[in-house]
């Protein structure tokens, strides 16, 4: 009796501890961003921001070109994710559904491509872009970001495509659909959660990238948000309020996207898997 109570209790207690561990850094970021400077550098931490201030957000966003950075980041990220999803959808369909010579080679190839350590190749990429007179432009960034997320997208989507029962597609084709129609009407809707959860990875990768944009785009008009965030350390020194406000602003779009998409993606994933 006692044992079973304990048996029921410990998973919940552990879960609560884990929850706090997961959330605290995120909470602390937001809390610091809203606290007046006096509370931030108090001898004893102020756990909950009582005097809420927006001053730090003002400092963080009053930086020249802030909105240009926002627009650039959004443009590059959304385009890169869209391109990679389209390219990957086609490729993953072939890899998951068709038999052909060299299929294994393709799969291994994409796995290798996934391992590319981009940070160490930066100077090579810089010289290519420089010699093509494409510096200070969003085009090479979008293309390279597309490539950074493409292998993962293909390989993950392949799993989702494979999880859609083949019978569904076949029965649709028996009903007179062409293969393309079957794909559009039957498979694509079932793939939606897969597309969403795969796109998350793309979003976070492209949104975060800063080593490449740092060397490629020196002009403010072509910079992105990660540069703005990393410049805070040098420009604002130990102004943790402004730094955390900037971090919060940077993280919020991704946090919202994850919380929104992840629920549907995970439930979709499990539902799809159970059905299969």
């Amino acid at each position: 009796m006692k044992r079973s109570l304990f048996g029921r209790l410990w998973p919940n207690v552990t879960a609560v501890v884990l929850f706090i561990g997961c959330v605290f850094p995120v909470y602390w970021m937001f809390a610091t961003a809203f606290k007046p400077t006096g509370d931030i550098i108090a001898e004893n931490p102020v756990w909950i921001p009582v005097d809420v201030t927006f001053e730090h957000f003002r400092t963080a966003t009053e930086v020249e070109h802030f909105w240009t950075y926002v627009t650039n980041s959004l443009t590059v990220t959304v385009l890169a994710v869209a391109f990679s999803l389209i390219i990957a959808l086609a490729g993953s369909f072939a890899l998951a559904r068709m038999r052909f010579k060299g299929r294994r080679g393709f799969i291994i190839g994409f796995m290798l491509a996934q391992m590319a350590p981009w940070e160490v190749m930066i100077i090579a990429m810089y010289m290519i872009v420089r010699d093509a007179s494409m510096l200070n432009s969003l085009v090479p960034l979008t293309l390279f970001y597309t490539m950074m997320i493409l292998p993962f997208t293909i390989l993950t989507l392949r799993g989702f495509v494979a999880a859609v029962p083949k019978e569904l597609e076949e029965s649709a084709m028996v009903d007179g659909c062409t293969r393309v129609q079957a794909f559009r009407r039957i498979i694509l809707p079932l793939l939606a959660p897969g597309l969403m959860s795969t796109s998350l990875f793309g979003f976070i990768t492209a949104w975060n990238e800063f080593a490449l944009v740092l060397v490629l785009n020196k002009e403010a008009e072509a910079k992105t948000l990660p540069l703005w965030l990393s410049s805070f350390q040098t420009q604002f020194g130990d102004d943790w309020g402004a730094t955390m406000a900037a971090s919060s602003l940077f993280a919020v779009p991704i946090l919202i996207l994850f919380v929104f998409l992840q629920r549907r993606a995970v439930s979709g994933l499990t539902a799809g898997a159970v059905k299969g």
Binding site: C22, M115, I123, A273
Partner: protein, 328 residues
């Protein structure tokens, strides 16, 4: 470069040839031949992108690694070949090997921690009630979603020497020497913070994926195991674990790649310091190449870094090769 050599024989050319064989009315045979073209066509955009956007920089990097490329050469666009000098210098120096060993240990420790913790959390998720599971899942998603640049900044603040909440807590817990402790001051303390950060960011991916996988285990398998008189441990080792094995392999592979390449976390937190003691391979390549403006050398280190990463993942790639063979 490896990526390119691994490319399969170029499909479209072969197929087009067979396509030309059947002129006139398409016979059923010819139609199926034309159908054989489809997978290659579908893969064509991905391959073109890979060759152009990854293959080309990679090739360029390999070429640079055989050059003496410093400030002057870069500014004046001069190409000065110097054979294998860069490789000779890197491979005969002590630094590279020390950094390599450090990188491998760093990856091993972080991947092991992430996988063990992630798997445990994943299994815990499966045991929890609905509401609790939802709560923990939200927490995990928040940690997972934190962009790495923001997360690293937040960890710098958490572990700040002055007014950092971690130091304050340790002090209050009675560990007074930690009151003004500088976490960036030593190799181990820097690695400690970076490890906490990486594990914190990586566990959610493993846990959520694993949990999703456990929900797909057919309950009949457990029932059968129970009929055989298996206890909870036995049914875990005979049912759960074998079922999850492919998921575990795949996530371990991904984590090895991601953690090995953890450039931003290490570089942003302490720039590979103190005293270059926390440089892992990507950071080392960056500091020697871009930082020190010794670009040819940096390219050589980059090529070696790629080779080492290939070595680390070779085992998994072999498994995949076999697996795909079975499937076909």
């Amino acid at each position: 470069m490896t990526v390119q050599t691994e490319r399969p024989p170029s499909g479209p050319v072969d197929v087009r040839k067979t396509d030309d064989e059947g002129p006139g009315r398409p016979t059923p045979r010819a139609a199926s031949r034309a159908g054989a073209l489809v997978p290659y066509l579908l893969l064509l955009p991905a391959c073109v992108a890979t060759v152009l956007l990854l293959g080309w920089p990679l090739l360029k990097d390999v070429l640079l690694s055989f050059q003496n490329l410093n400030m002057a050469q870069l500014i004046q666009h001069v190409t000065e070949w110097n054979g294998i000098d860069n490789y000779k210098e890197v491979l005969t120096g002590e630094d590279f090997w020390r950094v390599t060993l450090r990188s491998i240990l760093f990856t091993a420790v972080n991947v092991a921690l992430t996988m063990v913790l992630g798997a445990l959390v994943g299994l815990l998720l499966a045991r929890l009630g609905r509401r609790m599971r939802f709560t923990l899942m939200m927490g995990l998603v928040l940690a997972w979603a934190m962009p790495v640049v923001a997360a690293t900044t937040v960890y710098q603040w958490l572990f700040a020497q002055r007014f950092g909440v971690v130091n304050w807590t340790l002090d209050k817990l009675g560990w007074h020497s930690m009151a003004d402790y500088s976490w960036t001051s030593s190799q181990m303390s820097t690695f400690f913070v970076v490890t906490v950060l990486i594990v914190w960011m990586s566990v959610p991916f493993v846990a959520i994926n694993l949990y999703a996988a456990t929900t797909t285990i057919p309950s009949e398998l457990y029932e059968a195991a129970a009929l055989d008189g298996a206890g909870s441990w036995r049914s875990f080792t005979t049912v759960t674990l074998p079922f999850l094995r492919p998921f575990l392999y795949a996530t371990t592979f991904l984590e090895i790649i991601w953690i090995f390449k953890a450039f931003v976390q290490v570089y942003t937190f302490n720039q590979g310091g103190p005293d270059r003691l926390t440089e892992i391979l990507p950071v080392y390549a960056y500091i020697e190449g871009v930082g020190n403006q010794h670009y040819g050398m940096g390219a050589a280190i980059a090529v070696l870094t790629i080779l080492i990463l290939l070595g680390l993942t070779a085992y998994y790639l072999r498994i995949v090769l076999k697996q795909e063979e079975d499937e076909l």
